[in-house]
Subunit: 442 residues, 2 copies
Amino acid sequence: MGEQSSKPYKPGQPLKVALLGCGTVGTEVVRLLVESHGDLAARIGAPLELAGIAIRRPGRHRDVPVDPDLFTTDAAGLVRRPDVDLVVEVIGGIEPARSLLLAAMDNGASVVTANKALLAADGATLFAAADRNGVDLYYEAAVGGAIPLIRPLRESLAGDRIRRVLGIVNGTTNYILDRMDTSGVSFEEALEEAQALGYAEPDPTADVEGFDAAAKAAILAGLAFHTRVTASDVHREGITQVSATDVASAKAMGCVVKLLAIAELTPDGKRVGVRVHPAMIPRTHPLASVREAYNAVFVESAAAGQLMFYGAGAGGAPTASAVLGDLVTVARNRVRGHRGSGESTYASVEVHPMGDTLTRYHISLDVVDRAGVLASVADVFARHEVSIQTVRQEGRGADAQLVVVTHQATDRALTATVEDLERLEVVRDVSSVMRVEGWGDD
Amino acid sequence: MGEQSSKPYKPGQPLKVALLGCGTVGTEVVRLLVESHGDLAARIGAPLELAGIAIRRPGRHRDVPVDPDLFTTDAAGLVRRPDVDLVVEVIGGIEPARSLLLAAMDNGASVVTANKALLAADGATLFAAADRNGVDLYYEAAVGGAIPLIRPLRESLAGDRIRRVLGIVNGTTNYILDRMDTSGVSFEEALEEAQALGYAEPDPTADVEGFDAAAKAAILAGLAFHTRVTASDVHREGITQVSATDVASAKAMGCVVKLLAIAELTPDGKRVGVRVHPAMIPRTHPLASVREAYNAVFVESAAAGQLMFYGAGAGGAPTASAVLGDLVTVARNRVRGHRGSGESTYASVEVHPMGDTLTRYHISLDVVDRAGVLASVADVFARHEVSIQTVRQEGRGADAQLVVVTHQATDRALTATVEDLERLEVVRDVSSVMRVEGWGDD
């Protein structure tokens, strides 16, 4: 691993920055570079100068406060320019972002990226290129928008052992679930409202099916446990199946439903489980107070105990704030002729299969109202060694419903239990199965 | 400013650590150094080795899992040993901590300290010694215990402009105020309970009078605004005057009373106001959900918007986690032969006098029940140009009470208003004056 950056800094010179992409985030990055020029120079020890801005189509960026000659549609040419010291990528997606970042690093530039999809899919290739070229690769904006996560997890907790990370890392789904909780509306109504307000895309799949959260979960898991996790290692369930009834059941239990990204070590510290799914959490849990489109990451570590980092998870200005923070660091490293801490994957813990994951479950069953129903149901749980914590019976006659909350059980045992429950003659329907997280005694 | 540490690292050698103090935090530091020896070596690139542990009196540390020969009562000799690379100070107080840290840095060692009182009183002398000797001085554990604050504020937000920092930075007072809020008990009862549980000292002055929070406020202000603030610059009010009635009034307004450490820039960005006092904040504010003895720091910045960092603000293990995080960083810097980012006080903004500070106020008045009282009271506010947002009248006859909430006003104008109210014949008593913070439109 090279310790020297390949492009030495010439004292007194400005550092030249190439910006790839000029959408919502890119425009804010330019604005901050212009507005905070003096402060940034003081913090870095050298001024930053825009070398060029790569855009897809010319003529659409009249409101960006820079010399129009800086715009170019030749991104590949821009990242290979010999005068470029630092490259900021806010295009998103796998290609051409990957090829451009690789070319930039091979050209000796340090890079800052907000590209969660690329890092979660193929971070290894990028980090290898950074090492090979002795340059920095920073990515604070990829998870949790403006929320500082990477330095706290990697550096502040470097003397501690993180056990579990629970995150609300997708603002769209948090907005939808918060609306369902506060107004009792259905998923569909809350989604429409989120779309009307611009919190959800016209095609909301990436958010509501948990793809966005899964990419971020992979990055968080790698950070927290010094290992490498890709999006395909992440067990993923979205929120489209969360019903108003689930939300009401959660409320009755003193809980709220959140889409959680969870990364946790097995008790022996040898394996890591990474998953994204809706879960009920107690209203007294710090994550329960994360409202609207805000994000937060809750960390449990051996010595520090419980920590939480909260803030805006998306948006042009918040994401640009995180990009600029990284840019100051890589620029300062360049001025001082050294590299930042880089990726750390010395631990190489294995990924834990979802079936082995331990959680509590909340299960709602529509049952026939007949003596002995509870005994039959309890017998199914017992057969799979899933221990019941509470059972609540609601309604009578044709509408009888059983609500079961279990102690911790493996996902495998629970899935087998639910399959057997569905076969049970007295059970009309298993209407909902949801995990419960964040109880004090887990 | 030197960029090279004065003691070059010899590859393959362990880094030698001197520990000053072996109380609650020191014992946990030793435990983590022993337990996480392998992980720490992987993260640093060299193993850490304890060179010695300075204690006041010998023979009292039988439960610390190290060679008893490491203990010494000669702290001054330990920090001057030529083989010591890194010094950790967890003694607290001004002397002998300051002399020992100065001697350690003059001896070429990088230092990690948890000493808020010393940093807030005389940080300038310490940072100057670090610069002169080309060594690192890290202090994450000094504010907010285990909560990562220094890297997020200094590095992650380095491309942004922080406008305001609102912190709950003292766990004892937060525990007391939380108990007053949840059980309606008096300050005295809550304090007794906190003492019984070990959350408050037998002499609680440093906590309940706000001295501890004021030291932390000075450090936070310096960090957030790249300037130097000392504890004596901080306006300080404790919580001993907070009554059960104040807490109930706050509740009636949808607020909760918290002891806040506030550092904020004036709108022109040229001055900084730093203050510690109890304040009412809306229950929807993220800081309102900080319960028991937890700490949190809420940050408002231009681009990132609202951020919050939450966690255990004190205790042996959490504080040791923060110390170890710093130790990994300064050790890694030592191995790589460079320094961390150091202090940054380029901005040198002036400290704003408390009289100029703008806030809202909640004022309770015992008044005679007579026609025209409200007019007389309103006239006093108007004379001082303090604009009233709401007035609520409670009780009748001899117990009539007026509760006034103002729009933003200067502290000077408010103080003058209260003095005139006290002189007013119809006012029996100004029973409580409390600031209100965290409203959306401030």
